[in-house]
């Protein structure tokens, strides 16, 4: 019994921490209808500022909290002013992409400044435990609960009684009406981002003290947990976010009690998917209210795509095909092989995110499904590698579509959250389903690429194989886009309500897009598995999903040629300029930000 009380206390404490992140997300969503994917990065920044204050400056605890809150708030204000305000009149997808880019830039800056190694963040509080009923509670638990409750009260007083708080509430109820009544929406946004960032930063510091460890992987986890809690409570609903956070803390804590620690996140994401499917507006909002997304407006930047004549494309393809006959180094071929593999993933994502408008942030999961299927088929069932790769593609198409199908009725930013969560679920299932996936050990000794009994070992043969597969997929996708499906997908992206009114079933056409896209991604993952000969649950991670997204934006959403050009550019240019690996993700993030700001239609234009 006593342990159950412990799990309850632990759940509520962790829930309190999530609440600090989720309340910030809810405030921002309320005012700008934006899910701020950079919230976790501010949390990370808060943790490291806390570390600097405690370990290097030896500040006392109250001062530490003030320093962290102020510094994090400053970061929030900078993000609002320079990252998001210029995008106010931009297309709907732009701020979402911007926060993703900002998140990667901040995480990488922290990593480059402090190294990726975990650091200890001492708690500055005496290490004693008090008996409480059958469980125990420590001073840090009390501090976290105290900070949580105090911030909630302060926020309540601010929103209820201050003039700026009134303006925040007015803007979140009806932004246009508030503007017409003279509310300065920029100031409201500033206030909201400042508060959200201060809460997020303090939360990161407290969690660091709680586990006595901070590292750069905290960021994405915090964003995910905060978003889960916020969506559970109803996006934009501040009290709902607090209750959602406590609920999430408890669900996780009890889940860990019953099934073990490695299942913690699985419960969080399953809770999210269940809520999104059953009550997409959250637990505390009546289901019949209109969705909080705007119903009209352009999802992607309108543009006229750059038309490249067919002969030019054919010449380019032929040029790449004959490249191995020239004296090029193994290194160049290897780089281009990586570009072709990324190209297949980008083709998949440009169809899903660009053509039909479902911005997937968990696309690497499709690689993982294809890779594991192909590896296991060839290893345990002795299926020839060529067939195993096709099997990987089919499995990715089928399983990926099945997993994502509950989110087909979601719109806009919710789709991104759902795909992110589903991506995490796939990687957690791979980690935990040891009898099939071999769990954390991963799969080694995967046979090399072979076709009709001939092993493809030489760099040139691998190069030709991957180039040929990518070109076939690109041609098929180009043909798809000129069919009635192409226009149906794009119609659903531009206006799903009008599309439904003309007989287009969202389930049917989103499924078809994911089936086609899932196949391309699965084939890419399958080929990669046979090239690497070893894969585990971390081989295909969120960084790849974000890289693919950057490629797709760079090339132009929905643009087949753009996806390939973008892949070559983002894989090739860092090699040409010999940029060290640790700076690359930083550069991808900056590229994403610059594109969103200055050329949202990408290099070749959206289709």
């Amino acid at each position: 019994m006593s342990s159950w009380l412990d799990y309850t206390i632990n759940g509520l404490i962790v829930g309190n921490v999530y609440a600090l992140v989720a309340v910030g997300l809810a405030l921002i969503f309320g005012v700008s209808r934006l899910i701020n994917f950079a919230q976790g990065s501010i949390y990370l920044v808060g943790a490291y500022i806390g570390w600097v204050a405690v370990v290097q400056l030896h500040t006392p605890l109250p001062l530490t909290i003030i320093v962290v809150a102020a510094a994090a708030a400053a970061v929030g204000l900078i993000i609002e002013r320079f990252g998001l305000r210029p995008l106010q009149n931009s297309v709907r997808i732009a701020p979402l992409l911007a926060t993703i880019g900002i998140s990667f830039v901040l995480d990488q800056l922290v990593m480059l400044t402090f190294s990726p190694n975990p650091r200890a963040l001492p708690s500055q509080l005496p290490d004693v435990r008090f008996q409480l009923g059958g469980g125990t509670i420590g001073p840090l638990d009390l501090l976290i609960a105290g900070v949580g409750i105090t911030s909630a009260l302060l926020l309540f007083v601010f929103l209820r009684y201050s003039k700026l708080g009134w303006a925040v509430r007015a803007a979140s109820q009806d932004r246009d009406a508030a503007m017409q009544m003279g509310v300065d929406v920029n100031r409201v946004n500033q206030a909201v981002f400042g508060i959200a960032a201060a809460l997020g930063g303090v939360s990161g510091m407290l969690v660091g003290m709680y586990y006595n460890q901070i590292d750069t992987a905290m960021s994405l986890q915090a964003t995910l947990k905060g978003v889960v809690a916020e969506v559970v409570g109803g996006a934009g609903n501040v009290p709902g976010a607090v209750i959602g956070s406590l609920l999430l803390g408890l669900v996780e804590s009890y889940g860990v009690a019953v099934f073990g620690t490695s299942y913690r996140n699985l419960f969080a994401f399953l809770l999210l998917v269940v809520v999104l499917v059953l009550r997409p507006n959250g637990l505390f909002v009546s289901a019949r209210q209109a969705p909080p997304e705007p119903l009209t407006g352009t999802f992607i930047a309108p543009s006229r795509p750059v038309r490249i004549p067919r002969w030019a494309l054919a010449v380019a393809a032929a040029g790449f095909a004959v490249l191995p006959f020239f004296p090029v180094s193994f290194y160049v071929l290897q780089t281009l092989i990586n570009a072709w593999l990324l190209g297949m993933l980008a083709l998949s994502l440009t169809l899903v995110a660009g053509t039909i408008g479902q911005v997937s942030l968990g696309h690497a999961a499709l690689l993982a499904i294809g890779a594991y299927t192909s590896a296991l088929l060839s290893l345990t069932s002795a299926v020839p590698v060529g067939l195993a790769i096709i099997g990987g593609g089919l499995m990715s198409a089928a399983l990926g579509t099945l997993l994502i199908s509950p989110s087909f009725r979601l719109r806009g930013h919710y789709v991104s959250i759902a795909t992110l969560a589903i991506g995490e679920i796939v990687s957690l299932v791979i980690l935990n389903w040891e009898s099939v996936t071999r769990g954390p050990i991963g799969i080694s000794g995967i046979p090399p690429l072979s076709l009709f009994g001939y092993d493809l070992i030489s760099p040139s043969s691998v190069y030709w194989f991957s180039l040929a597969v990518m070109l076939v997929l690109a041609l098929l996708q180009g043909r798809l886009l000129t069919s009635h499906l192409g226009r149906s997908f794009r119609a659903i992206r531009d206006d799903d309500i009008a599309a439904r009114a003309y007989g287009l079933s969202l389930n049917r056409y989103k499924s078809l897009a994911f089936i086609f896209g899932g196949f391309a991604a699965g084939v890419s993952g399958g080929i990669a598995a046979h090239l690497y000969s070893y894969i585990n649950h971390e081989t295909f991670n969120t960084q790849q999903s974000i890289l693919a997204l950057t490629v797709v934006i760079l090339g132009g959403l929905g643009n087949v040629v753009g996806a390939i050009v973008g892949s070559v550019a983002l894989v090739g240019l860092p090699e040409v300029f010999r940029i060290a690996a640790e700076y690359r993700i930083l550069i991808y993030g900056i590229v994403l930000l610059l594109l969103v700001r200055f050329r949202p239609q990408g290099l070749l234009g959206t289709i």
């Binding site: 006229r304 043909r479 009635h484 531009d494 206006d495 003309y502 287009l504 078809l512």
Partner: protein, 282 residues
């Protein structure tokens, strides 16, 4: 009068509430085949909500909708499109990045037969396969529809044909409304719902639109029209229904409705005269 007993569209007690507000309040309506009924009323009277209930974009809290004798209450918009109900939208919902041709082709989506085999379960996969392989039947069907789209666009004179390959976002406001109507016609609707087709149009453009709607009516199309320009309503309608605060406050031939004191009060608050001149000038 025989038609009245067997109407094409029939609403009974249709009601939709948003929180404390009853946007559509126990509306009854019968629309016979070939008839044109206009729904007028001040802004916020519930006209567009009524359209949403009929086309499946919203579900009623009470009441029924039947179409050709079938109860269609609460069916999905995609089902209703397949049944032959087409609509245009008040604010103009064209597919911005699609060309005029593609926008109108989407209207013909429910009529695609060759490329959308009616096979259960694997139907969607066959559709994907046929879209990629494109056997002659599929190509012919697409070609036929493209010709038909050109014929529909020709009804708008030189307004849309020269812009057939331009993306819809580049069109003028009036042209977007025309694309919407062309898209609705491509469905070959049995029932057409037009939500303020002339909103934002100048007098010349309005006259053109009025002539087109009159032509469609003459061809026997059954039409439900929301319109603010009373002049046009009076000329086109077989009957006029006036809504205010969700309720039907008057119904009958145009001349009878325009002099109804309840209608005048709904529009101007009090029994002021001269309402028709002001409205038709608006």
């Amino acid at each position: 009068m025989a038609e009245r007993h067997n109407p094409m569209l029939s609403l009974r007690g249709l009601t939709r509430r948003f929180g404390g507000l009853t946007a559509v309040d126990a509306i009854d309506l019968d629309l016979a085949k070939g008839e044109l009924i206009s729904i007028i009323g001040p802004n916020g009277a519930g006209k567009t909500t009524l359209f949403n209930l009929v086309t499946g974009l919203d579900r009623p809290d009470a009441g029924t909708v039947s179409f050709e004798g079938q109860d269609i209450t609460g069916l999905s918009p995609e089902r209703l499109a397949a049944e032959g109900i087409a609509r245009t939208f008040q604010l103009g919902r064209v597919f911005g990045n699609l060309s005029v041709m593609d926008n109108v082709l989407i209207g013909a989506h429910t009529r695609l037969r060759a490329v959308r085999p009616a096979v259960p379960v694997i139907g969607p996969l066959l559709e994907l396969g046929l879209a990629l392989l494109r056997p002659a039947r599929v190509k012919d069907e697409e070609e036929r529809l493209r010709e038909e789209v050109k014929a529909i666009l020709a009804r708008f004179g030189e307004r849309l044909l020269p812009r057939i390959d331009q993306p819809a976002y580049s069109l003028s406001y009036a042209n977007r409304r025309r694309v919407e109507i062309a898209r609705a016609l491509a469905l070959r609707p049995r029932l057409l719902l037009l939500d303020e087709p002339t909103a934002g149009m100048n007098p010349t453009e309005t006259a053109e639109m009025q002539a087109l709607v009159a032509e469609l009516k003459a061809e026997g199309l059954t039409i439900l029209l929301i319109e603010h320009k009373l002049e046009m309503v009076m000329r086109l309608s077989d009957r006029v229904i006036v809504m205010d605060e969700g309720k039907k406050i008057a119904e009958g031939p145009g001349e009878q409705v325009r002099t109804d004191p309840k209608v005048i009060e709904a529009y101007l608050g009090h029994g002021l005269s001269g309402v028709t001149e002001q409205e038709s000038a608006a």
